[in-house]
């Protein structure tokens, strides 16, 4: 242990190392601050919309005395609240909406809506803790390691150091550990502060910390391995930087190209359009036949009397649902295609540690693609709940009272686990 502290002491007397580590800690602190602010902003936006929606619904309640009017005009908020650790790895949360308003109409035309963000800001990526860890921390480790052996060799001390008894356990091992320890100490406490403020659970915090240690450990071992080689200091630095660049920038971009080429998905625009065609074609089709097709999905409503007028809300909502049914297979294919792309990225990550860690971060922070599609699944389930809530009023002449307007099911953000 005393060897370890001695090496830490040496390290902290080198101006360049202190600079690099302090800068890293400062950037980590900044990223945590930005992440916490972002998460707070998303939470505020969610409650703002829920409030605004209440006022909107109150105004609709005044004139929507029929169930059909209420189902048509009234939007219902759905939201995807950030998990406590989202501050550290924002993942897809900047490009996918955290809150969406849904009606009992055909869902495919609603669920693909986008957030009104500035694409130029999404383009470079986020400055979150995961970024500092995966992009910047390895560079600091490279700075601390590249000349560990070659520096001694170039100063003519290497032979005498190697000749020391117990050089391995008393010198090199503490040196490696000291570097690893200092970088860990620059990052982990900063993350813990963030986790404490955001109220993250102990289990997730420990798992996250484990991932931080794993990533720093990987780069420590790799950098030490290269540094121990025969190369001179500049060569080592160049090799390490090249490898860092190759596995954090080039390989993911290349893998993405290959995955997209080998995993085609249906054209999303076509799903939207076909949904619309199916919905609007119904206006010119035989109304009774449309209802019969709908009753196949909802036999409990088949006792509804035949239509008396050219327009009845029940028929309108029946063909909305048929429109969703029409594109269901295409839509499923679209979603499974995206999930398959993500699964293949997971395979690529097996060979690329930074990617694997990034994905694990996003999983724990619930900000990955799977979290987005889980949110969409919750929206789908809620939409079913919503439309089936209205059906008895529309089809079975159940009277719709103001109390029924208020009793409409509400979205629940509890994670379906």
């Amino acid at each position: 242990m005393k060897h370890f502290w001695r090496e830490v002491g040496f390290l902290l007397r080198q101006r360049a190392s202190v600079w690099a580590v302090t800068l890293l800690a400062g950037l980590a602190l900044l990223s945590v601050g930005l992440g916490l602010h972002d998460v707070a902003k998303q939470k505020a936006a969610i409650s703002q919309v829920i409030d605004l929606q209440k006022q909107d619904s109150a105004a609709i309640k005044v004139f929507a005395t029929e169930a059909g009017d209420a189902a048509y005009y009234r939007f219902h908020p759905t939201w995807n609240p950030p998990a406590p650790l989202a501050f550290a790895a924002l993942g897809q949360r900047d490009i996918a909406p955290s809150i969406m308003r849904i009606r009992a109409l055909a869902l495919e035309g609603q669920i693909h809506e986008n957030e009104a963000q500035n694409p130029e800001l999404a383009l470079p990526g986020r400055f979150d803790f995961a970024f500092v860890l995966i992009y910047l921390a390895p560079l600091v480790l490279i700075v601390l390691f590249y000349d560990l052996w070659s520096g001694e060799r170039e100063a003519g001390r290497l032979a005498s150091l190697e000749a020391m008894p117990l050089a391995r356990s008393h010198l090199w091992f503490p040196r490696i550990l000291a570097r690893f320890g200092v970088v860990s100490a620059a990052l982990i406490p900063v993350f813990w502060i963030g986790a404490l403020i955001s109220g993250a659970g102990l289990r997730d915090t420990i798992a996250f910390t484990g991932l931080i240690v794993a990533l720093l450990g990987f780069w420590t071992l790799f950098a030490a391995w290269i540094a121990k080689g025969r190369g001179g200091s500049p060569t080592n630095a160049a090799v390490l930087a090249t490898v860092w660049f190759a596995i954090t920038l080039i390989a993911p971009a290349g893998a993405n190209l290959v995955i997209n080429a080998t995993t085609p998905i249906p054209d999303g625009a076509a799903i939207l359009r076909e949904n619309r065609e199916a919905v609007h074609d119904a206006w010119d089709l035989d109304r009774a036949a449309t209802l019969q097709r709908f009753y196949k999905f909802h036999p409990e409503l088949a006792s509804s009397p035949p239509m008396q007028r050219p327009f009845e809300w029940k028929w309108y909502f029946a063909f909305q649902h048929l429109g969703d049914q029409q594109v269901e297979s295409l839509s499923t294919f679209y979603r499974t295609g995206i999930a398959k792309r993500d699964a293949r990225a997971g395979l690529v990550a097996l060979a690329l540690p930074p990617l694997a860690i990034q994905r694990a971060f996003h999983r724990i922070a619930n900000t990955d693609l799977a979290a987005q599609s889980a949110y969409q699944d919750r929206i789908r389930a809620y939409h079913t709940q919503l439309r089936t809530y209205y059906y008895p009023y529309l089809f079975l002449a159940k009277p719709f009272t103001p109390a029924d307007f208020d009793a409409t099911p509400e979205f629940s953000d509890r994670l379906a686990e």
């Binding site: 105004a59 800001l121 400055f127 992009y135 930087a241 190209l257 054209d267 359009r273 007028r309």
Partner: protein, 482 residues
């Protein structure tokens, strides 16, 4: 100058003999070629697919049967953001923004279906495009090849020897810059070639392509002089290398992200859901079409009746319901426009804040030139949204005019209850073809060139600064050698 050329030639010979340098250059060229080919092919396919979607959507609209015109208002239309000829070089925001917009009555939808939501998280690590290779990768290669150009001479003691033979430090800096500049030129060659080919294929884009080529040329030159100056000023090779990698990391990786965060903090945006609800609330304040006693619509009725000198809407020479629809749509559209101006202003300010940070990072400036030149910047997207809204409004109002002029008031009122009246409210299908098609007017080549001027000047300022730095490093070198 002759001496500088000799020094450059010697340096290049050395690089050529060193396998590492050769492999580095070949790897970069290979990556450039792969990036250029795949990106171009992908964007060409996207362009084709959007064009095909647009054609099909327009054909579907015209093929709709005889209907009530308000049905067509709700049937609506889709528009797909077209892709300019240079987007293969720099896809810019295209994969990060929705490409498909649904246009319908009373509502303003968001642009949806974006590549970033259809891809695995790998995409957020960066995309292999010619622009990425030049902006991020090429400087790193130049650093590896150039960091020790002068420190090496210094360490070996050959520097003093050189200076005694009559070579001035200026010659040395110039010669080394010339050699590294030639490597930079090789790195640029595939991109310049690609831009040249695009300019030949689409002569109207030649000006924008030339500006992009100029921007990347300046950017590479900044790195060349910066690297040579760092090599002259550093005490050792590794000090030069480490500080250059640190600078590269800041310029190419940290600053663009930091600038985006800064812009997002200083100019926050409302969520789409909140904006929609605010529009609805304001709309209700102005005029509520669901309220039979609403003052706005009551005033509209009184005004219309007075204008035609009648006392009942039944006596009007047209279908009053269509006129109310048109009036309501105009009201909604005014609010959409008002909130869109707010959104666009905020987003433009955000992008300006990012541009300001290019004072600290030429990578931001070159990306700006690249995206503006290729027409894949925020401005193109905002124009798409704005023109789509104008198209939506024109389409809906055309249909509302049909609703007003071609339908009998009595039939229109009875159509939900009376099947025969419902049949009579359907108007002929040939009316649908008369809705004008959406023709996107992207930023003109001239506008894009104008937008590139400020970042070009920023790069020119950067280049002048690093050249001054290189000149100063020559003086330091002389002092150190003596």
């Amino acid at each position: 100058m002759r001496r500088a050329v000799l020094i450059a030639r010697a340096e290049l010979a050395l690089m050529f003999r060193s396998h590492v340098a050769l492999i580095g250059v070949i790897a970069l060229l290979l990556l450039s070629a792969i990036a250029a080919a795949t990106s171009q092919a992908h964007m060409a396919q996207e362009r084709f697919s959007r064009l095909a979607n647009q054609t099909q959507t327009d054909a579907l609209f015209e093929a709709q049967p005889a209907r009530h015109p308000h049905r067509m208002v709700h049937y609506g239309s889709y528009v797909y953001r077209p892709i300019g000829p240079l987007a293969g070089f720099e896809p810019g925001i295209d994969p990060f923004s929705g490409t498909t917009l649904y246009l319908e009555g009373h509502r303003q939808n968001s642009a949806t279906i974006s590549a970033v939501r259809e891809n695995s998280s790998l995409m957020r690590f960066g995309q292999l495009t010619p622009a990425f290779v030049l902006q991020t990768l090429a400087p790193l290669l130049l650093i590896f090849l150039g960091f020790s150009m002068i420190t090496r001479e210094h360490m070996r003691g050959s520097l003093r020897l050189l200076l005694t033979t009559g070579v001035t430090p200026r010659d040395l800096i110039l010669g080394k810059s010339l050699a590294l500049g030639l490597v930079g030129l090789i790195a640029l060659a595939p991109a310049w070639l690609a831009l040249l080919m695009m300019a030949i294929a689409e002569p109207s884009e030649a000006g924008a392509a030339a500006l992009m080529a100029l921007g990347y040329g300046l950017y590479v030159l900044i790195w060349v002089f910066g690297i040579v100056a760092a090599s002259a000023l550093a005490q050792s090779g590794q000090a030069a290398l480490l500080s250059l990698i640190g600078i590269w990391c800041f310029i190419a990786i940290v600053a663009p992200r930091g600038a985006a965060e800064l812009a997002g903090r200083l100019e926050p945006l409302e969520t789409r859901a909140a904006t929609d609800l605010m529009i609805q609330a304001e709309l209700r304040q102005l005029g509520d079409s669901h309220n039979p006693d609403d003052p706005f619509f009551a005033a509209f009725k009184a005004r219309t009746l007075a204008q035609y000198g009648v006392t009942k809407i039944e006596d009007l020479p047209f279908n009053f319901r269509g006129a109310v629809s048109a009036e309501g749509e105009a009201l909604t559209s005014r609010l959409f426009d008002k909130y869109f101006v707010e959104l666009a202003t905020t987003q433009r300010t955000q992008s300006q804040i990012v541009s300001l940070v290019s004072i600290a990072s030429p990578a931001i400036a070159v990306r700006r030139i690249s995206m503006a030149g290729a027409g894949t910047d925020l401005e193109t997207h905002l124009r798409f949204l704005q023109q789509s809204e104008a198209h939506r409004f024109a389409m809906v109002q055309y249909l509302n005019r049909l609703h007003r002029d071609k339908l009998s008031q009595a039939d229109d009122a009875a159509r939900s209850k009376d099947p025969l009246a419902e049949q009579r409210t359907r108007i002929a299908a040939d009316n649908w073809a008369k809705v004008p098609d959406f023709a996107f007017k992207p930023t003109s080549a001239k506008e894009r060139m104008l937008a590139a001027i400020a970042p070009i000047l920023t790069l020119a300022f950067w280049l002048a600064s690093v050249m001054v730095l290189a000149g100063w490093s020559a003086r330091v070198l002389r002092a150190r050698a003596l």
